[in-house]
Amino acid sequence: MGQIANLPRLRQVSNLPHMTHRMMSTSTLPLTETIAAADEAAVAAAVRDAGQHDTAVYPIGGGTTLDYGARPSRPGIGLSLANLRRVIDYPADDMTITVEAGLTAAELTKCLAEKRQRLPIDVCQSNRATVGGLLATNLSGPRRYACGTIRDYLLGFRAVDGRGTAFSGGGRVVKNAAGYNLGRLMVGSLGTLGIITQATFMVRPMPEASAVLACDVPDFNTAERLLAALVHTQTLPAAVELSAGSCRQDCPALGPLPEGHVARLFVGFEGMTTEVEWMGGQLRSDWRQLGIDSLLSASAAAGDRLWQWLTEFAADLQISVLPSATVGMIQRLLDLVPGGSIQAHAGNGVIGLKLPSSVLPFPLGEGRTHSLPLPLGEGRGEGASPEQPHDFALWLRQQLRPAVAEAGGCVVVRRCPAGAELTACEVWGPPGDGAAVMRAIKDRFDPQGILNPGRFIYDP
């Protein structure tokens, strides 16, 4: 276990049972100390203890998304779930698995692989990312086109709410309509309704084979034409991804995007070997008929690296629109952010945008600091001159959000830049329909507002 700098003071907690300590990087959270719970009872005790002292609690898994969400509103304790890492039950023939929240995604994958099964959710930094973190953030990757998101696989869970009360939802069977689907609500709530301690997933058989086909697209009209054609393909793509912009020159196996092209389209297939081969051949012929000659395909080993590369794209901003608006939105984004880098789950309309580090007015993660103003793009907006540093939040509000709203979409800041000091409204967007109900739910699960305060949507 590597030693990491900026480690907050660790507390020896005598009144919390089974506490152990573990080192982790928590520099983006205002932590007075970090404690590590050994089990659910310890999580509940820690939350109750915090509640009595009106102290905030920041749940921590693998520490890969601590910069997700808005600026925490007050100091508090870090509560690590990393020691809750047991596989509770794995009845492989039922294709379900119950695990503790601190298990890493890689450990889960390994466990399932022994029975030739998997949870078909792509996870960044899977060696560190935990099941709990995965659920709290609801992040997903290229396979969401065919496989959906982790919400579609969570069958049941256990959690501790803001009052320190343990509760559960759902069950361990693959189909269950008893009561409200609390699991769906927990997923993506960034630990603000409760701290998940245990989860049961539906899992799937490991596909026998997979392949990635790609083609380089000369212009955006062609990109839309190819995507629209996929609607009527006889094949069943597992992933439909579009890469565009700069900084995407490191594509494994396929090399950089050649001159005279604006984007690269990736289509992934999974299934039985015969299926995958047939689908690959079918798509090749579809593409040829559409006038695409420069087909790229990766060998099996390189294919794995490609999936990985597509998965690990660390977007700063996530823009969602309807699938049909994806290409238009990408063009608009590249116009607004020259030098930006884009990878889109184009079949879902979910676009990841990485800002060019060279033009950022603030530090953005490790080693990506700069002090130049972010250009507003061809004279749009007031004060676009480079001499006058721009406020990132202002740019979001005045430039990006209106452009995306025009297309019926929404923007979420995925990595809240240190020093950008973004409010919830700036990170998640202005409160939309349903905000009052969300607030009412939050108040009932965490009446003191101690779970991850400030980071989620509630306090615009």
Binding site: Q117, G148, T165, G171, V174, N176, L193, T274, L322
Partner: protein, 480 residues
């Protein structure tokens, strides 16, 4: 027990909706006193037929003003009493909001009003290469609004999932009379209210529009029907198929009892001593299907399947499916009334569960025949009785309850796709701990503080809030 609905409310409803869209004469209300769960009846005080979200919002605002409960209703096919006007109130019929507003293949979605029948949407999509995946047995009548309310499933959920996996967006009238739109863009910021509204049985709001995800039609199928000597052999074959890494698009089981009924009605020529049959379908690109079919045939053979039919044409496929689709209707030949349960167990527990169902039937002297979405571990025991005989009714209900308790004991659940309604509300406390029910109660309160949406369904609201308060205190071990 019947609530007196103020005349002023009826007048208000008539003003907003037009007198022709409001029923309040007792003779007109009788039809709405139950749904497909016929053993309980209660007449509503009024029935309204709104035609737009605006009108639904007006109804909600008026009912709220008069503190009168609302019971949203589609085709009334709920088998759990989800539309029973418990304690009266206003039934909000959504069947006249039955337009398909948009079919958008590029974005693979359709926008429909709640009163659109599931099959109506299926027909409208025929030939487009896409379909709406949930296909409950009631699909000829049941509405998309109802499918959303119960998180409906059907035979194909094994591979394609239930309704919640196919809803991209909702327009909902909330308890305060506001109309909100959630989705249809993926990954919106905030809590997944869609996820909790789907399956909420009309207790959190009234859905007025749904953006459903469309699924590509399978390019090819292999459909098989295997006859087994015993239920055990059939259920073991099911487990083995899944364990082999095959996800069939459907895997339906029928036991000897239901086969007899189907045979009597339709003369398929099943051997009278057959213990069970499985209808198994795999779909996908043709390239892999023959191999999968071979694997399945092999596994069925291992469990002594005595006959395996494979469809070689669409017409033959229809025939193989026909006996499954006609099964429930055929039970009408066996008995004047029946109660369909909806239990679910881990699929490896199916052999045990079906044995226990037979024992429970014997114990309570109730004839029980079974259909099951076997791949999901979802059993639908059909309990046969005569509604005119109170004793028989009671015995059937007792047997039903015991079956569901056995499902809980097996680590399963009391409903996979029909919902809780009024029928299973007492069992919620067996399935969930007080803190779990408390969490659900808090969700309901957050959406509908006045408690006017479908009260008395899904969970005993007042009861849960009360228990939760007490238990949450006592459940916490003393600090320090």
């Amino acid at each position: 027990m019947t609530r007196i609905v103020p005349r002023s409310l009826i007048r208000g409803l008539c003003t907003r909706l037009g007198a022709g869209n409001v029923l309040s004469a007792p003779s007109e209300l009788a039809v709405y006193d139950c749904d497909a769960l016929t053993v309980e009846r209660q007449r509503p005080d009024a029935v309204v037929f709104p035609r737009s979200a605006r009108q639904v919002a007006d109804v909600v605002a008026l009912c709220r003003q008069h503190a009168v409960p609302m019971i949203p209703r589609g085709a009334g096919t709920s088998l759990a009493g989800g539309c029973l006007p418990l304690g009266g109130g206003v039934v909000v019929m959504l069947t006249r909001m039955n337009r398909i507003l948009e079919i958008n293949l590029r974005d693979r979605l359709a926008v429909v009003e709640p009163g659109v029948a599931n099959l109506q949407l299926t027909r409208a999509l025929a030939g487009t290469g896409y379909h709406f995946a949930p296909d409950p047995s009631s699909q000829g009548a049941s509405t998309i609004g109802g499918n959303v309310a119960t998180n409906a499933g059907g035979p194909h959920t094994l591979k394609y999932g239930v309704t919640v996996n196919h809803v991209l967006g909702l327009e909902v009238v909330l308890g305060d009379g506001s109309i909100v739109q959630l989705g249809p863009v993926e990954n919106p910021a905030g809590l997944d209210l869609i996820g909790v509204l789907v399956g909420s049985e009309g207790t959190l709001g009234i859905v007025t529009k749904t953006w459903v995800r469309l699924t590509p039609d399978a390019c090819d199928y292999r459909t098989m029907r295997a006859i087994f000597n015993t239920v055990d052999d059939a259920t073991n074959a099911v487990s083995q198929i899944i364990a082999a890494g095959i996800i069939p698009s459907a895997m339906e089981l029928m036991d000897q009892g239901i086969l007899a009924a189907v045979e009597e009605a339709y003369h398929f020529g099943f051997p009278p001593d057959a213990g069970a049959i499985l209808v198994i379908e795999v779909d996908g690109p043709a390239a892999g299907l023959d191999q999968r079919q071979r694997q399945i045939v092999e596994i069925c053979g291992k469990f002594r399947a005595r006959e395996i039919l494979q469809a070689t044409s669409p017409a033959e496929r229809e025939t193989l499916w026909k006996c499954r689709k006609m099964a429930v209707g055929a039970t009408g030949r066996l008995s004047p009334s029946y109660l369909i349960e909806d239990g679910v167990v881990p699929r490896t527990r199916l052999p045990h569960m079906l044995r226990r169902i037979a024992e429970i039937g014997q114990k309570h002297q109730v004839r029980i025949v079974n259909v099951a979405h076997a791949g999901d571990g979802n059993v639908h025991p059909i309990l046969l009785f005569d509604e005119r005989n109170r004793q028989q009714v009671e015995r059937a209900r007792a047997a039903g309850r015991e079956i569901l308790e056995e499902c809980i004991a097996c680590g399963g659940s009391i409903t996979a796709e029909h919902g809780i309604g009024v029928e299973k509300i007492a069992l919620m406390q067996r399935l969930f701990a007080p803190a779990d029910l408390g969490a659900m109660g808090r969700i309901r309160e957050a959406f509908d503080p006045a408690g006017l949406f479908n009260p008395g369904k899904l969970l005993d609201h007042a009861e849960e809030l009360r228990t939760c308060g007490a238990d949450c205190q006592s459940a916490a071990p003393p600090a320090g």
